[in-house]
Amino acid sequence: MNQPASAYFIEDRHDPNETHTLAVLVQNEPGVLARVIGLFSGRGYNIESLTVSETESQKHLSRITIVTTGTPMVIEQIKHQLDRMIPVYRVVDMTLTKRSIERELAMVKVRGQGEHRVEALRLADAFRARVIDATTESFVFEITGNTDKINQFIDLMRPLGLVEVSRTGVAAIGRGPEGM
């Protein structure tokens, strides 16, 4: 690349991006989520998915699951930057452990009649989605699974009268007896 006349060196970056799922255990205190999100926006990192909830209320611990993309060097930076925050206990790269399970829940509203309605129900059954609300012209399906499965289900519902989708984002946990 021809360097422009600038006070900064502008680097060509060719490293391929990777997608990683990070589990972050934090002290549940005011502003902790803002800190984590602010880190991502402030340093130009990507958030593909973010899931937060208190997981141990006595200890005031929350677990944040973040799916992010970046070059290997950026992913490493993200983990270190998260880890050095004062209320962060641990950061675990679930993708690197290769032994983690990821799930997402989605509620999918489909509106239609006749053959479309029957087809939607048939597909829902094949995907093990449950009907949690129904009217004579609509369904709300509840589906859990990994991100790919949910994307696939939503794509199939689109021509059958997809109205809207609400997704939780990814939650992840390691296999085996050990905790994070």
């Binding site: 360097q3 006349a5 600038s6 900064y8 502008i10 502003g31």
Partner: protein, 591 residues
């Protein structure tokens, strides 16, 4: 309840704040009163253990506290009011975060029931300062205040130091609660910075150092932050190994400038020998520095043939800009001690005579050369004279940001740490004058000089009034070239010599300005007058504005042009118009 009224630990939130300052050994604080901190100021008024320095603008309080912290190694403390008081602190907080300076900032906030109502002088202080502090807290319950204050001091000063902020609503300052002295459990269990380096990594590092043919030590501000022991150990390591050493802007003084292994500063305006040594080395030991972009130049051509060892207390500094081979996470002093111990036990001084001969050839290029003149004061000459005439004195130097800052770094030799206060990471024009105020408060009998530029100094010139009020005899040595020199230099080199708004039009008469503030004004035009004027400045026991009229168009060299590597420096004798045009050839872009 009745026996509680006799409990000495029952007090108001405002009293707790002053009490916590005393418990943490704070002697001086910098601040500016306002509606949301009046209860704290009332407490300050009724005691004499903590001295309060009234600044003229909250930014001045922040930089003064930074100067105080950097010259003492102790945290700097600031008290400002809500709203504009807090927003005016954003610059010094960011500055302190970039340069790892421990600050504890206490801000007033509107009463808790008004938070979120757009009340008078309300702002989202913790929201605004979240990205520019190491950590911050909003205290909603007076019974949490003692714990938060103690944790604030701990977080600011431990690990990689940095600024913290505690936001205290006015009703919490008025409310009565229970205070407790500092104790271990005041700190988040999730915060435990690593101090000791990994033994395996240390052995790997020593093996590299012991077999090096072309080694270099590259040290940074982390060595100074780590404390006097780290400085001592760094010097010992240089002695034991015989390696050449260079340093970042922030690290000047850790190794003495008069030391025989000293290469001078490295980086964009570093010496030729320092940058060439970095480029051609086979083993690099980076201690408490962070491969900043002003240091590395072109990253894909940075020291291509070397194995790199990186000691840093902050894991996020490792592999951020440059991939290293042996990272060691922990405190510089601690790790240097371990490296020395292993080195002394298992290795002997490597023979690097050929390397030193090569370095001598680079040195002979005399990259800090400039043409002296009998008619006009060259800025480099002014710094050299200032250095010579203050040699042997108990001197502290602060700077603003720009050409004068680089010349000060190049031509003023620092023998000890904590003597050089400059805004490195953020590059804050207006840092030096208030920083000098803070340094002088900490060292009332020392000679404190702010090496300034005519543009920078006007950004916080109002703190002259603070210096006069507290009889702080700071010396503001202005290299007055009537330009924003560094901006102009870049415009000359990169923007076709179109000097867009970089001329200091309508400069004040600095001598009269000094007198208007109740200080002393001194001016020097000619090289022959310079020594006498500097001596006069030193002998005056009052704040001085020294208007040193220097060559207007002098530029700062040597220089690594953008997009170039360490071995492509532009040296002063090459810096004619044609050479600069070639060196900077390329497209045009605005970054």
């Amino acid at each position: 309840m009745s026996d509680k009224s006799h409990d000495p630990n029952q007090m108001t939130g405002a009293a707790m704040i002053v009490r916590a300052l005393i418990d943490h050994g704070v002697k001086d604080i910098f601040g500016y009163p306002g509606g949301a901190v009046l209860p704290i100021y009332d407490e300050i008024f009724q005691q004499s253990e903590v001295q309060h320095i009234l600044v003229r603008h909250e930014q001045g309080a922040g930089h003064a506290a930074e100067g105080y912290a950097r010259s003492t190694g102790k945290p700097g403390v600031v008290v400002v009011t809500s709203g504009p008081g807090a927003t005016n602190m954003v610059t010094p907080l960011t500055d302190a975060l970039m340069d790892s300076i421990p600050l504890v900032c206490i801000t007033g906030q509107v009463p808790t029931h008004l938070i979120g109502n757009d009340a008078f002088q309300e702002c989202d202080t913790v929201g605004i300062t979240r990205p520019c502090t190491k950590h911050n807290w909003l205290v909603r319950d007076v019974n949490d205040l003692a714990k938060v204050l103690h944790e604030a001091f701990y977080v600011a000063t431990s690990g990689r130091p940095g600024p913290v902020l505690v936001d205290v609503p006015k009703d919490v300052q008025f409310a009565t609660g229970t205070y407790h002295p500092p104790r271990k459990s005041d700190v988040h269990r999730s915060y435990a910075p690593r101090v000791k380096g990994d033994a395996t990594q240390i052995r790997k590092a020593v093996a590299l150092l012991a077999n090096a043919k072309r080694p270099v030590i590259y040290s940074g501000g982390g060595v100074i932050n780590s404390g006097p022991e780290a400085t001592k150990l760094l010097r010992e390591l240089v002695e034991v190994t015989g390696f050449p050493i260079t340093s970042t802007l922030m690290g000047l003084g850790a190794y003495p400038a008069s030391g025989k292994n000293w290469l001078g500063m490295l980086g964009m305006h570093g010496t030729y020998e320092a940058n060439m040594t970095m480029h051609d080395c086979d083993v690099m030991l980076c201690v408490g520095a962070r491969f900043d972009d002003r240091i590395t130049g072109r990253v894909d051509a940075f020291s291509p043939g070397s194995k790199k060892i990186h000691i840093d207390i902050d894991p996020s500094s490792i592999n951020k800009n440059i991939r290293v081979d042996v990272p060691i996470i922990g405190d510089c002093g601690n790790i240097l001690g371990d490296i020395l111990q292993v080195f002394k036990a298992e290795a002997k001084k490597p023979d690097i005579k050929a390397w030193w001969q090569q370095i001598a050839q680079w040195r002979a290029r005399n990259s800090l050369f400039y043409k002296k003149s009998n008619d006009v004061i060259l800025p480099q000459y002014a710094i050299q004279r200032l250095f010579e005439l203050t040699r042997g004195r108990d001197t502290y130097i602060t700077t603003e940001v720009g050409q004068h800052q680089m010349w000060a770094a190049q031509f003023f030799g620092f023998e000890e740490p904590h003597r050089w206060m400059t805004s490195g990471g953020l590059g804050t024009m207006g840092y030096g004058l208030p920083a000098a105020v803070g340094v002088q408060v900490a060292h009332p009998d020392s000679l404190v000089i702010d090496i300034a530029g005519d543009a920078s100094v006007q950004m916080t010139i109002q703190e002259m009034s603070t210096a006069v009020q507290y009889e702080l005899p700071i010396k503001i040595f202005i290299l007055n070239n009537q330009y924003m020199g560094m901006v102009r230099q870049w415009q000359q080199l990169l923007h076709g010599n179109r000097l867009s708004h970089s001329y200091s039009e309508a400069l004040p008469d600095f001598v009269k300005l000094a007198e208007a503030y109740g200080g002393v004004g001194i001016r020097a035009h000619k090289p022959a007058d310079l020594d006498g004027a500097i001596k006069e400045m030193i002998s005056v026991k009052r704040p001085v504005l020294f208007d040193c009229r220097v060559a207007a168009l002098e530029n700062c060299f040597p220089m690594i042009p953008s997009g170039k590597a360490h071995n492509e420096m532009l040296l002063p004798e090459q810096a004619n118009d044609e050479a600069t045009a070639t060196a900077f050839a390329g497209g045009k872009a605005l970054v």
